[in-house]
Amino acid sequence: MKNRCQYLLVLFISLTTALLASCSTDPRALHGSPYDPPRPAPELSLQNVSGDEFELSRYDGDIVLVYFGYTYCPDICPTTLADVKLIFEELGEAGDDLHLIMVTVDPERDTEEVLRTYLDRFHPNFIGLRDEGETLEDVMAAYAVFAQKEPSEDPARYLVSHTARLFLIDQSGMLRTNYPFGTPREEILSDIELLLAEETR
């Protein structure tokens, strides 16, 4: 009888542990605007700064932050990228499993070279994606991102109004949440640490 009780107890603990391990974090536990339930991240079928086709699936198993911006942006984009750079630094070695992808919404001025040089200023591992026309529009629509070139007296010095959200994709390629501009860096960092812990659970 005693042996049977011990067996049932061990079985109960094992099943509970397995059940907990299979559960992912409650979507509501994440900051920003969580996707409940999480949904597959739309593919980023664009070219990287080397002119090669990019595939999001190459980063399965890692955490990805996606941002839509442009290099001539004087205020919002560099502030966001500087924050992400600090997140990389704060994560230390764990930051090796994190990637930042910036999709330019201003392909006219953001050539591959301009984009690469700009991103290198922040972090050499930041990935730049660039494409034009419908290809870019389709990806922006999939992420519900808006961008509009503003009228300017000098046609070469225009500004671009754009959605300034950071999208968080987990290790399974699922969109988990997105952060509006001004989200405290600590909140994004804590969500990434939560996803990293989810993986090791």
Binding site: P74, D75, I76, R121, F146, A164
Partner: protein
């Protein structure tokens, strides 16, 4: 133990040591983001007034083809936009902050690289106080 009045005096002295000002305006916590020649960037600071209301009318520098006062804001659709400001009111006995995502001095098409830790100068033109020159470090806080 230091008395509160002495502490306040000490803080004000320290603030004044790192700030620029004229008359009843004090400008502190200034910084400008590094960027490459040809690109755009922004500068930020806090303006404090200990007197009557004033207006910041313009900012001058030799850094860029154009230097403008702008404000970033989020519209009702959640899109980040920017709007040039003809002037910025500095409230009487109050302060106003230029900060990322809000008011900022925009430098369009830099004439040269702005390198971390160097210092640049800006001339701020106020309606009542006239011109105030400030030293601004190139940094990422």
């Amino acid at each position: 133990m230091m008395k509160p009045r002495f502490l306040s005096l000490l803080l004000l002295t320290l603030l004044a040591a790192c700030a620029s000002g004229s008359g009843n305006l004090l400008i502190h916590n200034a910084w400008i983001r590094p960027a490459d020649a040809g690109m755009n960037t922004a500068a930020y600071f806090v303006i404090e007034s200990t007197g009557e209301e004033d207006r910041l009318l313009s900012v001058e520098s030799r850094l860029a083809e154009s230097t403008e006062i702008h404000r970033s804001y989020v519209d009702e659709a959640g899109v980040m936009r920017m709007q040039e400001q003809a002037f910025v009111i500095i409230p009487a006995d109050g302060s106003i902050s230029f900060e990322p995502g809000g008011l900022h001095i925009m430098f369009i098409e830099l004439n040269r690289d702005l390198v971390l830790d160097e210092q640049i100068q800006l001339q701020l033109h106020f309606e009542k106080q006239g011109e105030i020159t400030i030293d601004v470090p190139v940094e990422i806080p």
